[in-house]
Amino acid sequence: MGQIRRVTDRGIAMGGDKIDADALFEAVGIPTDGYIEVEQNDAILRIKNKWPLVREILMSCVKPPENQSDKTT
């Protein structure tokens, strides 16, 4: 994680011109380990089954596999 220059925030003591971005992120409750990948799980399936339009939209967004052959030729 890089450094953030000239940063102040509520209740965070600043030491010199630079602080650790991780400390700043943690101070405001942001996970510092990046994003959480969410797998297709039961909750997603349940939501899709509950709301027909959601299911329809999500099904239309599914990308075909890269090795899928073109059957029209």
């Binding site: 925030d9 971005a21 101070a27 405001v28 709301w51 999500l58 967004c61």
Partner: protein
């Protein structure tokens, strides 16, 4: 310059509110900020305590043959602001067709000769026109604002399939999403937020902005949350978005 476009996935999702609040949170974090309103609805000015009757702005000046940058002012809380101005539809159409050809917006920003570390927050309308296309091209990040609704999911699906990105890989790569107005007590809101988390994965900011009456109240006072209720939950979330953006720009660098 650290150029950031903020754009609602459709009108009414709270993009202007996000611009105003994040701008003031960044300023609170000792950042130099210019907010440039590109939205002809000219509503952003009301977050910055401009009078309702005051129709001045950069686009209004361009349409009247005046100097566009003279419309800029320094808000009471230290944010520099360029309002769009009150422009009627015929003049707006002429501005889009004749007034911003070539590198219009890029030339405007270059003329300001701002220091490298200055943040430029572009309030971009949700519809794509000459001006919003220029803004998206110039920006290092485009932050698109979503509500946790099926309408936004449909709009997102449309834009991902072609209408918005038009096979522009660079634009796709620099586009990030933030969920706004998430209602804690709403089952469908929680479910749609989960769908967005699943679908957008790394392209979604790890901060959701929850629905908060204080946001409406702050606007009714023509100010932002850090001035009106600095300890509210939404103020904390806007502050978190500001901090996240600082970290992001630190990692990817400035233009």
């Amino acid at each position: 310059m650290r150029i950031l476009s903020i754009q609602g996935i459709h009108a009414g999702v709270g993009a202007s509110t996000l611009v105003a609040n994040v701008a003031r949170m960044l300023h609170e974090l000792n950042q130099d900020i210019l907010v440039f309103d590109l939205n002809p609805n000219n509503m952003l000015r009301l977050h910055f305590n401009m009078d309702w009757q005051d129709g001045r702005g950069w686009a209004a000046n361009v349409c009247e043959g005046k100097s566009w940058h003279e419309a800029a002012f320094l808000c009471e809380q230290g944010v520099h602001f360029l309002p769009f101005g009150r422009v009627d539809d015929p003049k707006y159409q002429r501005l889009m067709t004749d007034g911003l050809q070539g590198n219009g917006l890029a030339d405007y920003l270059e003329a300001l000769a701002l220091p490298d570390e200055t943040w430029v927050l572009l309030n971009v309308p949700s519809d794509l026109n000459v001006l919003s296309r220029q803004a998206l091209k110039l920006s290092l990040i485009t932050l698109r604002v979503l509500e946790p609704s099926v309408t936004c999911l449909a709009q997102l699906a449309e834009s991902m399939q072609s209408a918005y990105f038009q096979s522009d890989v660079e634009l796709d790569n620099k586009t990030l999403y933030v969920v706004n107005k998430l209602m804690l007590g709403s089952e469908i809101d929680q479910e749609m937020a989960l769908i967005f988390k699943h679908r957008l994965a790394k392209k979604r900011l790890p901060v959701n902005i929850h629905f908060d009456e204080h946001v409406k109240e702050a606007f009714a006072h023509q100010t932002t949350l850090n001035a009106y209720v600095p300890e509210s939950a939404s103020a904390h979330e806007f502050r978190a978005v500001a901090v996240w953006l600082m970290g992001y720009f630190e990692r990817v660098g400035s233009k």
